[in-house]
């Protein structure tokens, strides 16, 4: 085992699984929420459509997993690492910042994928979930969305000086996105004003893009979503490269 970032990601993944609240909110809570709504609505095709509720909303729950892990978990854990001097201990070792950050990201991405797999299994097993798109295209938009949400999470993760401030900033970003972007609630339940506000969040674009491709669309049908997501990746990279603080 000689590749530092793999070693870091392995230990971060184990640590993640040992953190009960992070474990619950990324892996279990979106699953429960999906099953709860599905149990009320079912997955019969909507009138004049081929897809039902679960087919339509599974991508939104994936967005929820993403934002919980990449914004909540990443910002809180990095801020705590910074405040407690864990980043400082890493920096005393011959390991590049890249390895530490990439290790974190890979671990969190693995958690995200685990959460998504749980959603898919539950969907296929209990609700006859159907996929209408192209597999590789979906993988592409899923990666693009993950990178964009990760970049957003990296902004507070790079800057927050204390665990407390990391948590506060993460909450301020997390809850509006969760409720307005169509992750926890379908956007059709929102008034137009809130829908328009939600366009400021990358999660809204991520969910709409993933939903579109899941239901058989192509990513080039959604140039605005793709560009906004790419823009957030650049912004997040810029902020974290320029302002990342070790202590």
């Amino acid at each position: 085992m000689k590749i530092p970032f793999i070693a870091v990601s392995k230990s971060e993944f184990i640590l993640y699984l040992r953190e009960p609240s992070a474990f619950f909110f990324t892996l279990i809570f979106p699953l429960l929420l999906m099953l709860l709504f599905a149990s009320m609505i079912g997955n019969d095709p909507f009138p004049e459509e081929e897809f039902g509720y679960v087919d339509f909303s599974v991508a939104a729950y994936m967005g929820m997993v993403m934002v919980t892990s990449f914004v909540m978990a990443l910002a809180t854990s990095m801020a705590a690492y910074r405040e407690k001097g864990i980043l400082k201990r890493f920096r005393a070792a011959p390991v590049t910042p890249f390895s530490i950050l990439a290790g974190q990201l890979v671990a969190i991405f693995a958690v995200t994928v685990a959460g998504v797999i749980l959603l898919l299994i539950a969907g296929f097993v209990f609700y006859d979930l159907k996929f209408f798109g192209n597999f590789f295209e979906f993988v592409f938009v899923f990666l693009l969305s993950s990178a964009s949400i990760a970049a957003l999470g990296f902004i507070p993760a790079s800057l927050a000086p204390t665990a407390r401030s990391g948590e506060v900033i993460a909450n301020i970003m997390y809850f509006p996105m969760l409720f307005l972007s169509g992750a926890a609630l379908p956007q059709s339940m929102l008034p137009d004003l809130l829908k328009n506000i939600s366009l400021a969040f990358p999660l809204t674009h991520a969910i709409r893009l993933m939903q579109g491709v899941w239901l058989g669309g192509h990513f080039w049908d959604y140039p605005v979503h793709v560009m906004v997501l790419a823009g957030f990746i650049l912004a997040g990279l810029f902020v974290s490269v320029k302002y990342f603080k070790w202590e």
């Binding site: 085992m1 001097g85 005393a92 070792a93």
Partner: protein
């Protein structure tokens, strides 16, 4: 030829308006135990952090193993080990996992199993970091500083908060490390520790180097006189002893007579004289000066104030 592993010249480091290090220069010889001593806030940690590539100095130059700690930081960190005064690892990491993780950062490593055994942490290898006591955490960080088989080991306040037994076992370990050919740079605010352990000691106060020498030289130059104390009866004329060569009478109170002597032959004279006076040598004490006295004489203050 001198074989320096660390050379610091005119090191200056500010934090906002605090001048933490104010023009320090010194060199560390290969294979010695070099101590940086001084009270809290003297600038020890900042000095070590500038040497170990953790901070960029404002001015001055630092050379460690021929490397620039800022520019060649990664190459340097492969060859040194640093135990920081304040740092942590994640609470829910088990000790063996932490040792494995940090081992993966180095090309050559010491067996972490042996390190944990040596530092008395073997029974704790499956515990979470959060389950360790303060002293065990300190020892873990010493072990982690050694994982990469370092040429220079930096130990910053490595025994503060440790119980006496652990202190003694870490002292032994530090000497073993030196005997293996490693260089040790340590900081401490315990003067007795520096005196027992270090080959050379740099005394730092208010960010400045005030003295640098072996403990015995520092004591003989700056330590002042040896003190003698013994119990006496009610009517003892201590003054009369000042007539002896090299003896200075201090006081006679509560049936204790205190003197200072400037040579060991004076002690012999005192004993002879007391014997001639028919005075017993009840609890006769010789107190040689220590590094503590050196610090007091150089700075005019106690170390811990």
């Amino acid at each position: 030829m001198d074989d320096y592993v660390v050379t610091v010249q005119n090191l200056v480091k500010h934090y906002k308006d605090v001048k933490a290090v104010d023009g320090i220069s010194f060199s560390v010889n290969r294979g010695e135990i070099f101590g940086i001593v001084g009270p809290n806030g003297a600038g020890k940690t900042t000095t070590i952090e500038c040497i170990a590539g953790m901070r960029r100095a404002d001015s001055g130059s630092v050379d460690v193993l021929g490397l620039d700690p800022v520019k060649d930081s990664l190459a340097l960190k492969r060859r040194i080990g640093l135990q920081q005064q304040e740092s942590e690892i994640p609470d829910r990491l088990r000790l063996w996992e932490a040792m494995e993780l940090f081992s993966s950062f180095y090309d050559t490593v010491l067996q972490w199993e042996a390190l944990l055994k040596q530092l008395n942490l073997w029974e704790k290898k499956d515990s979470f970091y959060s389950e360790l006591s303060g002293g065990q955490k300190k020892r873990l960080f010493v072990a982690m500083a050694l994982i990469g088989d370092p040429e220079i080991v930096f130990l910053d306040e490595f025994t503060s908060g440790l119980d006496p037994q652990s202190r003694i076992s870490i002292w032994k370990l530090v000497k073993e490390l030196r005997d293996q050919g490693r260089t040790i740079v340590l900081s401490t605010h315990y003067m007795d520790e520096a005196e027992k352990l270090c080959d050379r000691v740099a005394i730092v106060d208010h960010g400045k180097l005030t003295a640098l020498d072996s403990p015995s030289n520092l004591i003989s130059i700056h330590g002042g006189h040896t003190r003698i104390q013994f119990n006496v009866g009610d009517v003892f004329d201590g003054e009369s002893l000042s007539s002896l060569k090299g003896v200075e009478f201090i006081q006679n109170s509560d049936n204790v007579c205190s003197l200072e002597v400037s040579s060991s032959s004076a002690i012999v004279e005192i004993v002879k004289q007391l014997d001639a006076m028919g005075q017993g040598l009840d609890s006769f004490k010789i107190e040689a000066p220590t590094l503590e006295d050196v610090f007091l004489n150089i700075t005019g203050r106690e170390v811990r104030d």
